[in-house]
Symmetry: D2
Subunit: 432 residues, 4 copies
């Protein structure tokens, strides 16, 4: 039997708190899970710094990846099978892409990407196509199979239906992370009736569509997503930790560039600082390495680096204040000057950060990031864009919400305000 | 107002998946949570290697510690308050001991304690009494307060009732971890009606007792515990990972003692190898450091160390087989000889491991580990030992169950058995 | 001790699937629960005909009433106590009103009110003030106490804050029924973080307000309500059963008025038909009586009455079709004529029904049903109407959604269409 | 296509709180659900009087029957299909028997069976084989099909494997009611990992067996059952209500036999009193009829009948006291005499009641009620009786637990004890 169709003699199951059980029958899937690169995802948290606010959110990208795989498996095996719009030859590539779509994520990806100008999706593709264990497994299916998986992840795959399973406004990725992140943070949001959504998903020419009788379940999913964004993903305390993380990496890089003598050579970081990153460098970096070095850096002589690392490791984060750039456009300049005058480096201690989300959008041709909308399939077979049928979705469709905050070391300012009137002035200005 | 009685201006809450919310009103508790030593618990998993079987079990000792605190808080604030048997002066020491009872746990404590002959409880006490942030906070209550907390943890405190809240056959520690570990692994076991148990807990002279009307809830708790032990805590695959971890530490220590030249000096481990551990050494060691070094050691020249590290990091664990020491007492000797003959070092590749649990026991004076039994408080006020009232508990009371397993590298043996008849013989013998 | 302040020697608890436990300490509450009129609520389903669609929805108004009580108790006992805006003298009246707000509901109230022009709120007040067991208990508190409770239910009570606990756009009534109905139907909607909402509720001069930090939990509650209305409460199949129920009562009344000789005298209904209902008549009527008579009527000679009863009892409901009164204003007239021509009485077999909901509204002075909006309490103490802060609530605020349906006996028409071309024509016309 | 194999054009689903969704594809199943006799189960509570203690337990036998069907469907469709031990020709008979196994239950069956010497299983068979709608549907499959279904319910069917799905120590019936009753009462017990049990169920020659790797899930199921029996099913307050119900029926029958003139002729009961019950009489009786008559009887002149009915309807139940027949064999006689002397009829007001349960038993040949034990299927294919492998099950195996109680009208005795020393004496004696 070709490797592609090999089944395990006995189905393997993973106990999963979100989906109860994750089922594996295909040998390819089992072998991919066993690779070094996939096991590495156990050492990278799904939600980065969020665990510093929601202490339950310590779950890894490993389990999320299994979850996305399981959802796609259920869609295909119990819903799509036998329908003419679905090509069963795409099954394995869809399952592998689901399982591997986050393979290139590094520790605290968002911060890393920002500081070192990286793109985790490029790394996912590089791992899939490079000299790796996962590439070896996928290549056993066929020489071009790794490329097919990489194309789905990169959204250039010919069969758009397969892409939409993993990457669209209602895909297996989102359905897993909303539920999983809700479960681990313990918040009430994030719940929706996925079993119902799976039952009403239908394969169509270019994408997955939803039987119109399932509209309310989809509405509920969109509202869950909206709530999770503002309650969990954009939580200001978690952003505070991320702001500090970014500044740590900035500072370490700046020191390195300046020829600063670290007490222990930052070996795993050098290629990042130098922009000479190899695939092996990238794969070797995980959260454990970061925490190990941050703890070493807490003892460095550079006061900014050691202070920032202490803040991150011991959770002494920056305080935040609301900020309206449209009205208060001069505030940052004023604060910047005051910080300098007070001897606190604003580059590291005065940070603005914005979060922004578009809960759902219909197709707006020509605009950047054209989004494929969600389509309902009417009883007569016609497709109708979701917001035309749903009052609630229509109401929020295309409405971008943005939130701006200033982050600053309130502890330093409060402790010193008695002796230093500048500190007091800063506090008053920043608090508005 | 004395620091001991200071309240936060606004109650702080932590969202917790198991207890919904964890409530903090006391400034002392808030300050303790903010210390470096307590925050460190975020970097140590509650269940060690279990996440390699139950991928959801990535939760840390940090959240478990908060959970135990919350349970003790609920017991005291809603149940004990006002009862003559309860001394409200013990409230804060009980809360602090609940929060801090696991403070001295290191990464994968069980393995570390075994290899380096350590005792995490001693370290808990050392951190409480040493030159630490947590000691500084506790000392603000009163100079002898840290010692009081340490005494509760060490079970030498004068008020046995306080000890029993945190350490007995039905304590806040067990009630939190059973539920929490069930939640994160996703298993169905581990659930019991804690709210009911809290409602029937009564303070008595030497310990917490249970109103007899709550007997069935306690039975259910004991059964949950039994199931969690055999389904989760003693899972053979998780024990396989722990066996490998122990062997890694053994090997690294042996190499170090032999003067082996590591490619990168194992600085954080040296004092463990040399038995010159300082408190700072101990506190600095967390799972991140371990994973960082294990990944470095994967590239070491010593084939045993690098193989074991690769196995641990990439989850290529040992296989296991049942083993009955009473009947098969010669088997290990035979296998040992065969391994040597086959050129596989049995010291690292042939491991026996036993798990053993006593689900509940009444008091057996004179026996080692005398256990304080659970007492029911009858309507007339008299106490009656649980197993005298409960048929089910009586049935399992004092019945120790033990399970023995042999762990071995089946992958090596299977791969080589064609060429090496010894490998085949080993496989046949070990599989019985 | 005055009866008003009497406490039970031991707290009583009811096990409740939604709130875990319902706690009773006040003797007044305990005594009220034991009255005949309150126990009667066990014989009236909370959701009328909904159990014919969602088979789990067999729960009674008894448990909902306990649930509303428990929520108000939690709000007062753990949140309001001690705040200057809250007058502790209102505690007992608030608890009693919460417990008793639905006391006057009869079986399938909505249908009964429509056919016999009744008002369940009037009956609640009549039971509270009449010669009843519940009145006897309340009068022991003070002679005017029953009137105070009745005033809260009737929304004429002087302290508007008390009214708003039980009757406002975010009250204990709604919070209980959304969660309870979701639990019993098994739908995923209806969940929101009530514990969080209770924590952010604050007493204000005229009503309960919400600390602004709890805005997202309130958004989620409003969305839950929206989904429950359209997914559960307005489910077309449940409305079909209600349509039939209304027609049964219409028919029985018409026959009675015409002097029809029932095989068994419809004693419990006569005073309803005659508009001479006494309180005792009203209280004696419950779902059991209805089902008993409907089964008797299945055997009556009148073909319409027996057919409708058979439909209701054996769940042979009417089919439904969409209907747009704005565009299809002539359709009903045409169908009416066709039904008559086909010998099917349109008065009983051709029914239009509309459902309409306003998910949330701010205050629109002068409009009928002026609604008190939900106010957020900003950190500076000011109040701000919810839709000014919440994009989502703003988007749906004041947007009434209405749905129109035609109900008809598709089974009769389908069975007869071969022989009767009129039947076929009706089917084509009604299905549009 | 033969009716037996007809599928619905679109799968129908019922939303179910316990199993999420119940799936129906077979037309036969759909048609059976629509029959009058099956719909009647909506008017009979699953747990009889239990709702008077656990107010959530208002669920009907209708939903339990659907649940048992769904479990058997999952076992067959996802587990048994394709295995040689399973004969796919038995599928439909198994599904129908699962759905219909409780069809003959009347209102408060246990009490009715006791008073009128009936057997609900006989009525199930009578309905299946009589002139009923359900018989008409089943007969369309084949003329002998109703008899096959009746044989499975009566446990005389030739294929013992089919019987064991619905009636054994681990069957779909128990698995549904434990979970369902736990859900509706809200207790924590009753939960076990059914999904795991379904995965390890295997068809064997004479019965369903369990793969040995699933042993712990089965242990948990047996413990759940044990807890549900003692916490819910045998709850003394629910038994008190049942005791009163039995006495109502006794009294009404006695009055009827004595020629007592009821104010309204008890038509639906006459054939029960006369032992001339027809199938139609039986089917017509539901809880609504009972409640209707009990309310009428509250106004009867006979003081015993009216008092007992008032107690049942308004939940003024008897109090209970522990009673040990082995030690206190004279107590009942003494109380009987005292009751008579005090003018309280002991036949109706002094009741003893015993509950007894055997949590699990292995096969004991020759004993009455021989039970088929649960077998584990070992990896080598051999079967091993459960208690030989499970310490916990072994500990409780065959251990019958019995509980005896006396029920009496404490309210009457307490109210009258000041004036009547006999009342005081009774109270002292009964309370021990």
């Amino acid at each position: 039997m070709p490797y592609e169709h090999e089944k395990l003699t006995e189905e393997k199951v993973f106990k999963d708190p979100v989906h109860r059980y994750i089922h594996v029958r295909d040998r390819v899937i089992w072998d991919v899970i066993g690779t070094r690169e996939f096991q590495r995802l156990r050492r990278i948290r799904q939600l980065g710094t969020t665990y510093l606010v929601f202490h339950g959110a310590e779950h890894s990208r490993f389990q999320h990846s299994l979850g996305v795989y399981e959802i796609v498996r259920r869609i295909i095996d119990s819903g799509f099978g036998g329908r003419p719009e679905w090509n069963e030859d795409e099954r394995l590539v869809a399952l592998c892409a689901a399982l591997l779509h986050d393979l290139g994520h590094g520790p605290f990806s968002h911060a890393f990407e920002k500081v070192f100008d990286l793109d985790h999706e490029k790394f996912t593709q590089a791992i899939l196509l490079g000299d790796t264990e996962v590439n070896a497994v996928l290549s056993r299916v066929s020489p071009e199979f790794p490329q097919r998986v990489a194309d789905v992840v990169g959204k250039t795959y010919k069969d758009k239906l397969v892409i939409s399973l993993i990457s669209s406004q209602i895909d297996a990725d989102r359905m897993d992370y909303l539920q999983r992140d809700a479960y681990y943070t313990g918040v009430q949001y994030g719940h929706f009736d996925m079993e119902r959504i799976l039952r009403v998903m239908r394969p169509a020419e270019e994408q997955v569509v939803i039987k119109s009788s399932g509209m309310h379940a989809v509405e509920d999913y969109i509202m869950s997503r909206y709530q999770m964004y503002w309650q969990v993903y954009f939580h200001p305390v978690s952003r505070s930790a991320e702001v500090i993380l970014i500044k740590i990496l900035h500072r370490a890089k700046a020191l390195y560039k300046d020829g600063y003598r670290f007490q222990q050579e930052p070996v795993p970081f050098s290629s990042f600082f130098d922009k000479t990153i190899t695939l092996e460098d990238y794969i070797s970096l995980d959260e454990g390495v970061l925490f190990t070095y941050f703890q070493l850096w807490m003892k460095e002589k550079d006061p900014i680096l050691s202070d920032l690392c202490r803040r991150f490791i011991n959770r002494k984060l920056f305080q935040y204040a609301e900020f309206d750039p449209a009205k208060e456009y001069r505030k940052i300049g004023q604060l910047d000057a005051l910080f300098k005058e007070a001897g606190i480096d604003p580059e590291y201690y005065l940070v603005t950060d914005s979060s922004s989300d578009l809960p759902y959008d219909f197709y707006r041709p020509g605009e950047e990031n054209e989004r494929v909308p969600i389509y309902l399939q009417l009883p007569n077979g016609e497709l109708s864009e979701l917001s035309r049928s749903s009052d609630i979705v229509d109401a929020i469709s295309g409405k971008r919400r943005t939130d701006h905050k200033i982050y600053f070391p309130e502890d330093i300012l409060e402790a010193g305000q008695k002796d230093n009137p500048l500190y007091k002035e800063i506090l008053q200005l920043v608090r508005g």
